[in-house]
Every structure is written in structure tokens, then in C-alpha cells.
Symmetry: D2
Subunit: 364 residues, 4 copies
Amino acid sequence: MVKACVMVAPEKPVQMWEVAEPAIEQGAVVLRTVYSEVCGTDVHLWHGRLAGVPYPIIPGHVSVGRVEATGGEVKDADGQVLEQGDLVTFLDVHENCYSCWFCQVAHASTRCSKRRVYGITYSAQEGLLGGWSEKIYLKPGVKIIKFPATLTAETFISGGCGLPTAFHAVERATIHMGDTVVVQGTGPVGLCACVFARLSGALNVIAIGAPAVRLGMAKRMGADCVIGIEDTTPAQRAQAVRDMTGGRGADVVIEATGVPQALAEGTDMVRDAGIYAIAGQYTDAGNVTLNPHRAINKKHLDIRGVWGTDFSHLYRAILMLNKHRDAFPWTDMISRFYGLDEAGQALEDVETGRVVKAVIKPGA
Amino acid sequence: MVKACVMVAPEKPVQMWEVAEPAIEQGAVVLRTVYSEVCGTDVHLWHGRLAGVPYPIIPGHVSVGRVEATGGEVKDADGQVLEQGDLVTFLDVHENCYSCWFCQVAHASTRCSKRRVYGITYSAQEGLLGGWSEKIYLKPGVKIIKFPATLTAETFISGGCGLPTAFHAVERATIHMGDTVVVQGTGPVGLCACVFARLSGALNVIAIGAPAVRLGMAKRMGADCVIGIEDTTPAQRAQAVRDMTGGRGADVVIEATGVPQALAEGTDMVRDAGIYAIAGQYTDAGNVTLNPHRAINKKHLDIRGVWGTDFSHLYRAILMLNKHRDAFPWTDMISRFYGLDEAGQALEDVETGRVVKAVIKPGA
Amino acid sequence: MVKACVMVAPEKPVQMWEVAEPAIEQGAVVLRTVYSEVCGTDVHLWHGRLAGVPYPIIPGHVSVGRVEATGGEVKDADGQVLEQGDLVTFLDVHENCYSCWFCQVAHASTRCSKRRVYGITYSAQEGLLGGWSEKIYLKPGVKIIKFPATLTAETFISGGCGLPTAFHAVERATIHMGDTVVVQGTGPVGLCACVFARLSGALNVIAIGAPAVRLGMAKRMGADCVIGIEDTTPAQRAQAVRDMTGGRGADVVIEATGVPQALAEGTDMVRDAGIYAIAGQYTDAGNVTLNPHRAINKKHLDIRGVWGTDFSHLYRAILMLNKHRDAFPWTDMISRFYGLDEAGQALEDVETGRVVKAVIKPGA
Amino acid sequence: MVKACVMVAPEKPVQMWEVAEPAIEQGAVVLRTVYSEVCGTDVHLWHGRLAGVPYPIIPGHVSVGRVEATGGEVKDADGQVLEQGDLVTFLDVHENCYSCWFCQVAHASTRCSKRRVYGITYSAQEGLLGGWSEKIYLKPGVKIIKFPATLTAETFISGGCGLPTAFHAVERATIHMGDTVVVQGTGPVGLCACVFARLSGALNVIAIGAPAVRLGMAKRMGADCVIGIEDTTPAQRAQAVRDMTGGRGADVVIEATGVPQALAEGTDMVRDAGIYAIAGQYTDAGNVTLNPHRAINKKHLDIRGVWGTDFSHLYRAILMLNKHRDAFPWTDMISRFYGLDEAGQALEDVETGRVVKAVIKPGA
């Protein structure tokens, strides 16, 4: 039997379940979980803020594990045959249909309605399809990445789902060398965005967030300077950004907060003809009041929504993570490791912001 | 002496002035005005809704005239030497500095703070720098286009300032062949956007506006179908668009209304991973309430503000206008010609929407 | 039994075979072929100029047919359930893996090495996987398009494989409204490129080719003017283009000839900072001598190779074809219909250029 | 009197001239030259390989100096008023007309035919318009950048004209995070391209060149590995690149050699659907034989010519240079300082490749 932590319904305590060992299909892979994580989305899941979630679920969308068994020969994206003991991760999004209008005509793969997501839209009744479990069942066709020898499980899970999410946001933001980039938010996505903004040519990275411990972390993760939100007004923050940019505002602003008001504040601090990438509004947290003349039209602004991730984001994020594994204190983002039976505590800690990154260690 | 119609101050009746003949500098051109126009911006000017306007002004930013005199040899953008009697128009925006950060580093020429605009930001005390006048003084460096022999002044002034504005909006919207395009607004900008959307590859163009006369005109200017706003709700209109697009929404929505609420409605009718270009919020008409999760983030939407125009938009718009001069009933957009002394009436008619295009004919 | 015309080996006469009726899998579709075509690629196949072709093959990559049977419920890309008698076409390229580095990381789907192409890289031993046959077997997952009621099989097959190929080339060429576009080549790809260039905003389309009958056809398919290659030198043609463009050269040149020398000629007639899209070099026809300083570097030129097509090109091409079905004399491109047993004659006719479009009509 | 080194005619020894102090116009600036440089272009000038050069000229297009006098108040691009003693550089390209078709319609500013270049297309008879001189006369309108306090003249001149040229090439190459980038050529442009490729997100940078001293420098300037051309064949080098990229080839190749054959070699080592940016073919060094099917069409390749630079490239390059001034051994690129009277020797040293960067120090 396999132990898994299950979110049985919104607002209910998570439970420890014993689940039968999976029978392995041709092309599938069973992982022994090394780490999974608790992120803001898991808190949303716990409060029932996402539509269409098939509770009970095993949460944990981004995880890292070791190959325990494969259904025949299975290869990773680079064509490497997977062997028992290999350290791997995988794209949580699965079952893109590659047939629908969004997949085939719009090439907007993150909008395919057939997508299922490990740890979010798979039910616990369908199998070990989430990371808060001793084992994870990778269905045939799940996109797998074997870690390079130099990359540890700890380094990867430090960024966790923040890695591909921030990578996608930075890609959409099309940073040019010499740009000043503001990152709104200093959670894992925001911190990873600071790193990727820096690595893709930003001259100055300004992180805006709270509390002090996260701001301090931001400085070590590529931010040149930080602005705390606890002791400033939105107008003061926008003015601070303008003061650092010759009065113009930032070339690029990346939103990673989840707070609707961030949109109004962010469009105030971006320069005319700049770019504003919105990645953090993952759930419906309400409305914002905006002046379209001042915020968009007169600014000649580009606003770019960022939904989901595809395999290229995870793949490239890992390449960059491995290359720059020693250049940033990745693992210092991990505030605490939690056993499977401590996942409820981890949810509470993430919700209060007491921790930057809460990591689930099923083998603990 | 030259007769000109002057907007002396916000909310005051316009006045007829007699102005001295201009002394012509080297590189300058004096035009005998054939037509100018009254557009929504002129109504805004009349009500004092634009900041920094140096009243009294001679309105009329887009005009067409015949060369009366030149200060030495003056050439148009194609290098043609201008001769007396040539029919020409010119870019209303002048004095881009080509030196500032926006001009030189950001290549965002419409955000250069040195820009002055004929008919808007030049004072009547500075000369004949607006089209509601028998003559227009083109300062050295004003960008001029000599009309091809096949293009009449009437055809051009039918579109007027709507031509480069709509051209820019359509360019920003990056329409792909096969796209369904919604145009919000059926004033001159919206009607020109219908044409340019059609000419740049739209499969279906849906125009949304009022009143019936404008909707009828939209059908003749490239719209495949129209939706009236007087007898529908925003939700009904969004649903109508989805019904015409397999439930997905339009690939591209172009806003040309000036009404803040159009932003909320437009993001509701654009498809996921689509494009929303905002061209109509030329003045501050207030706020709109928006849900950033549903309207932007989850949609993976691109929102693109469109501010001002540069010479390429006017130049290319005229090329296309001339090519397709017989394919659309351009001059039917002109509701009425007004003499200079009827400009006040024209302002009222434009404001009420009684007319599609009000043309000033100084020689009338 | 099903009659099919088989290319048994390079340089051998094609043969009529009788093939067993296919057993239909779940998700598959059997079509009764209405039309297929003979294009330049088929001539290349006949002469063995493509690598890796598994002779014997049933040629005919782009075809149109009526649904005879389906393996259970099968839907087209718009989600419409296919019924017996429906008129459909399909993307000849099949079995994109959606797993490899090119599919998943580079998003370069036309470079997936797993791709198989109906009529080209499927062997006759694998089934009815080509259009020169009374029936075509569409394997599960083949991307199908049901024709709108207004679109006839004749109109579609007139363009045939030239439709998606030219669509892709024009998409890569990113034409802006007002551009002058040269199309090198007046075969089906070139003629379709004239139409799509026109529909996507070209001001002037200049077609270059031979013989006179094709040049005449080009004029009716969207070209504003034509230049014959039989009585001009490359230098004269480049000069003619410059003469039509104020001495600058064309904004965009699209190559659809298959002749290596076209590259040198085309870069000579494109303007500085223009775009050169190469679609016609489908097989290795030899080398060309180029001066990289003059042809590329000093011109600040963009050269864009165009390989293969994906489903979006076929899908959007058909939308545009149907919309503009009456605006161009599509079916006049068809020079002659051939029965299956006349396919050898068709190959000869295409090779000599005696025909513009040779259509196979298996039911004839 | 001002001492200047003059290139009087092709293939003649350079001469020392004494030139009258310039009378300063309103808006002009006189610099006391701190450093200028000798680059490959100067060798081309010396051999008469550029068309339209108005010999005699004062070479030296990229230079750094201290403000000696200004004609009234003169500002730099950030709006800072220039004061005596300020350390500045300037864009060598001047007199973009901002009026012609290329400036106004194509927005292809580096193709404006009115452009004049300090040290190249200004004659010595027109004044002190080149850097091999004790003083440089900056005409009104020359775009000036005041150095930040942290940036030294030595650091800047180490890169010299290679900085904006490489910046432009890397910008055109649109590197994505995770890309493998090959830089062909290890002169100053190639070395700067290694740095900018690294800074804009390259995962791996592979420099190809000679001799050993330059290859060693490349490793210190951002290249992960180097391939020498003196002991390898083109086929071996292409294979080496494929071996480092899973058999695919590099995502991006940037050419900075000036050797036509580099085009054939580079297209062989770039991956399918990759990008090839050509920056080094600054003069006509002959032809190359290319197979358009294999090198462009089948590869679905993007080839991008890179001509000249505009102000944004210099401005942003300096921002990045200053930020990363300690991260790379910039000044180690300087092989030797030469007095004005040693410029002839410097030309010879650059031509033989004995030096990486030859710096002119007029005050020496």
C-alpha cells in the first residue's frame, strides 16, 4: 500500500489514505516521490476557489522523484531511456489533446480544454496522480525530464511550480537588455521571476512585496532593490519606481501577487509603451477599477495575460536552473520540510505567509 | 487676410477670425485648404477635455489642400518636388524631437513629449496651424504626402483622421488571415477599422455600434454583420459574438468607442489567447471595473493600447485607400459639408451622432 | 477491391493496383475520393528526388473526398461529428509525435521527425494512404475538415496542396498593408501566394514566371502585374521591380520556384530591411552563388525558410478560400481532369508545365 | 592647432596633420579625445574597400572623450546638461534624416541614405570628425551619452565599436533563455557578442575563431567553450556543435567574421527552425556557394542581416557594460595603446590579428 495525503473536500482537514500500488501500463512510469510542494494554488484548492476540481484529490502538482518502475522502455524529452533510480520531474499538465481548435489552429496549448493537471484536476479515485504521496503514477505520455547529474532534487523543489510559471511570465514579458523590470510579489513565483528577469537581460530588477524575510530573499535572488508594501502606499511605490527610472517608469512590470489591485498599481508604474505581464491572478479574487485612458490607451501599453505553462517552460527553466544553480541561494527559499502527515500544517503556514516555500517530503 | 474658425476657449462658441497671410520660411509650404473635418476629438477640445491645449486654437488636425506656395524646393516623403496646385495632405503630428529617450531608445515615437499636433496643440497665436481655415501653414519638416492622380480630396477626407488612427489600431491588432474581428464603435475610426481589418485578412468583421445609419454604413464598409447597442445588453452582444465563433469569441477585438465600459465588454467577447486593441480611449471618460483573473490572466489575453499615429500609418493608409477607392463607398461617410462659419453647427452635429462624418469646406 | 494508382519505384511507369477494402479501426474514416492532384512534388517522387520514400507508394497528398464510413464517432477540428456523405479534406501530414524536442521545446512542429505524409512517406503496403485511389483510409488522429456547404470539391482541389503551402509562406512573410510583394513562380503555389498576399494586405503583387498562360492566370489570381522569365534576364527583372517601387525594391519577395538561382535574383529585387520567404526549394536542385555582404548583411534582410505546413495553414486557407470563392477564378487553374489510369500522362504534363493544375478524378 | 592622424587615400601611409581649432556652433560640443580605436573597418578603409569614402578622412568612429566646450546648453540623451570635463561617448552615425521613406515609412533607420558616420564618411576637410585626433567636434544633434560615475574610459573602449555592433546582432538574434548560441568570430565584435549572448539568456555560448589568444579571451568573455579554426575543418566544427546539442545544432548562430564562407558553415551548424544572424559581412569579401534547399528551406531557417547600429544599441550596450563591468575582464581585450603617430602600426597589427583591440590614445 502507498501512503498519500488527500484533500477530501474544500475546507475539510486533509486526510492520510492508504492506496493500492498501481498496476503499471505500457509507457507509464512509477516514481518514488522525493519532494513535492505546497503552493498558493494548494491553499486555493483547500478553500474551494478553483472550479471543476474533482475532490477528493491528492495535491502536489510539481514534484520530483526517482524512477521505481517503467512500463517497457520510456524516454524523456531528450530521448534518454529512463532507468530505475533516475531522478526526474514531469510536466504537471497532461492530456493536451493536440486535436482541438486551440491546440491545432490557435497554437494556444495552455487553453486546451482537455488538459488535466496532476495534483489539481485528477481525482484521487483515478490513481496516484499528485505529489503528496509516497509514489506518483506517470501515465503514458506524461512529459518527463531526467535531471542532469549536477542538479539536486532540493535545488529544483526550491523553485518548484514557481519555476515554469515565472519562466513563462518572463518569456511573455520579452525583456530587452537594459530594461528595468519590476516584479510585483515576492512569493516563489515572484522570486523566480526576479532570477529569470535578471538572467534574460534586465538591467535593474525591483521587487515589491512583503514581509521583510521575503524582501531579503528577493535581494539574494536577483533583485537590485526591493520595496516593502507594508509601510508604503501604491502611489508611493509607483513614485519610487519612477524615481529610479528617470521619471519614466519601468520598462516591464511582471505581476505575481494574485491581488486584483496590483493591476492598477502596476499600470501606474510601467512606462509609456512598456509591457505589463500578469501571471498571478490564478483565481478569481475580485475586481479592480481601472482608467483605460490613462492606464492603457495613452500609455500605448501592452498587457499580457499569462495562463498556465507548457513543457518548454519547464524544460528551459530547468536548463537555466542547473546552469545557475550556484549563482543564487535557491535552497534558502525552502522554509521547512513537512512530512505527508504535516501537510495540513504546511497549508496553514503557506496561507499565512510564514514560509516562503513549504516542501513535502513523503519519505520523512 | 485669411479667414479661420477659432476655438477661443472651452465651452465658448467658436469664432471667425481674420488672420494675416503667413510669411513663408525656407522649407515651409502654404496650402489652400480644400477640406478639413470635425471629429470626436474636436468635440472633446470644445469641452476642454484634453489637457495642455493652448486656446485659442484653429481646430482641424487632418486636412487636405492644394499647394499655394513653397519656401524653396520642398519634397514629399517619396522625394517628389511639390508644385503649386498639387493636392496634398500631411501628418498632423509635428516636431517629434528624434532626440529624447522615447524617440531614440524606446523607438516609441508617439510618446515623444515634444510632439505638437496641428489643430490641437498649436495655438492660433502661432499661425495658421489648423485646418478650419482658408489656408494652412506647413512648417519646415512637416511630413507631406502628394496625392496620386487617382485619389480625390473627397475620398480622403471621408476617412479623415479615422484613416491613420484605424490603420494603427489594425496594425497593432496583428490580424491573421482567417480571424474573426470585432470592431467596437461605428464612428469614422470604427468604420475605417472595418475596412482595414477586411483588407488585412479578416475572415469576418463584426461591427458593434449605433445608430442604425452607422450600422448600415458599417455593412458597406467591410463589416459582415453588425450588432446594434441600442437594443441589446453587453452580455447579449458578447453571446452573439460567441455564437458566431463556435463559442470561442472573436480572435481580435478593436475598440473605437471612447466609452470605458467597452473594455469590460470587449474582453468578454474576445477568445482565449486573443488580442484586444484599444484605440478609442483618447480622453479620460472615467473608469471601468474589470476582473483581472477572468478578463486577462485566465484568457491569456493580449491587450494593446494604441496611442497616436506616426507617418507610416498615414502613408500606408493612403496607399490602401487609393487602391481600394472604388471597393468601398468612402464618400458616403460624409454626412454634410459645412462652411467655416458653420463649424459650430458641425460640432453639435458630431456630438449628437447625427452625422457620421462632418467635413469643413473653407472655400464653400 | 479498390483501384489505386501506384508509383512502384523511381523512374518506373505508374501501375494500376487492386487493393483490398480496408478494415476500419476505431477513430478512422474511409473516404471515397472525389479528387486528388498531381503536383510538382509528385514529379520529384517519380524521379526519386526525395530521400526516404518507401516505394511502392500511392501518391496524392492533398485530396478531397466523401465520408463512406467511420470507426465510431469521429469529429472534425471544429467538433462536428462526421456523417456519411460529408465532403471533407484532411491534413496530409500525420503522426506528429507531440513528444519530441521539436514538438515540445522548439514548437517547430513541421520539423518533427515522426511526421508521415499521405501520398509521400506512407507505403502502399501500409494501406490506402494516398489520394490516387478510389478510396482513402484516414487513420485515427488524422486532422479532418468538413467543407462548409458553400465550398465545392472543385474549388478546393484547384488550389490543392498549393493552398496550405502558399498560406504558410505568406504567413511567414508577415505582409503589412501597403507592401509591394513579388511572387517568384506561377505554379499552383505561386498563384495561391498571389491570392493570399492580396488578401492579407499587399498593395501591389508582382508575379514572375512563365509561360504566358500561367502569367495570364496570375493576373486573374491577384497579381497586379506580371513579368515573364522567358524573354528577360534576372537583372532586367530586378530592375523592373525597382522601377515599380521608387527604386527601392519590393518590401516582400516570396519564392515559389524550386530553382536555386531564384534566391540570388530574389535578394536582388527585395528592398533593404525587407523580407524574403523561401518556400519553393522542396528538393535539392543544386547550389546558388550568393554575395552575403550585398545580399543579406548590407540589406539588413530577413530571409525565412518555409518548411511544410501544419493544420492551421490548411484550416485557415480553407476559411479564406470559401470566403473568396467567387472573387478569384479558382477552377480555371485546373487544366485537365485525369482518370486514375491517366496519372502517368498527368505526371508528364505537370513536368513539362503544359498544365497549371492536373487533377486526378478516380471516379472518372 | 589640433593634431590629427589622417588617412589621405587608400593604400597610402597615414599622415599627421595639424588642424585649426574648430569654431563652435550652437548645440555643438568639442571633446578632448581620451581614446579612440582601430578596428577591422579601419583596415578596410585603409585598403579602399568601402565605397563612397571622402578621403582624406580622420578615422576613428567610436571614441570616448571629455567635454572641453559646448555651444550653449547641450544635453545628453537622458536630458543631463553636459559640463566641462564630463566623460562622454557618442553615436558615430549622424544626420539620419528622419524624413525619408526608410526613416519614416519602413522605420529602418540604419538604411537612411543621409547617414554620415564619424571616422568613415566625413572628410577631414569638413572638420575634426573622427577620433584619431586630439579633439573631436560633435556637430549639433550628435547623440551623446554621459558616462555613469562607475564606468571608465578604458572599460568602454575595450569593447569600442564592437559593443553596439554585437548588441544589435544579439538583439536581432532574439535569444531565448536556454538557447545554445554559437558565435562565429573572436574579434572584438565576436567577443562582445559572447558577453551579450550570455547576458541575454544563453545557456551555452560556443565561440569559434583563432588564434589561441583570442580563444582564451573568448572563454573569459562568456564563452562556455571554444573551437579553433586553425586545426579543424568546417565539417568538423559543425559536427562538434551538433555533438554539444543532442545532434540538433545550435539554436542561434551569430556571424562576426567577415568571411563569406562563414555563411555556409554557420547554416550547417544551426538547428532546424533556428536563427542565423549575420553581422560581420561589412564589406564585400566575395561570394559563397549555398544550397538553398538544405541550408534554408528544409531547415525552416531564419536568416537575419544586421546592418549598422542606432542609438538604442549604443545606449543599452553601455547600460549593460556598466552593470557588468566587473563580471568580465573587459580591459584585457586591449592589446596595446598607440599614440596618434603610431596609428599606422596599429593598422598593421589589427590586420595581422596580432592584437585583439588596438586603442588610440591621442594624449599619449
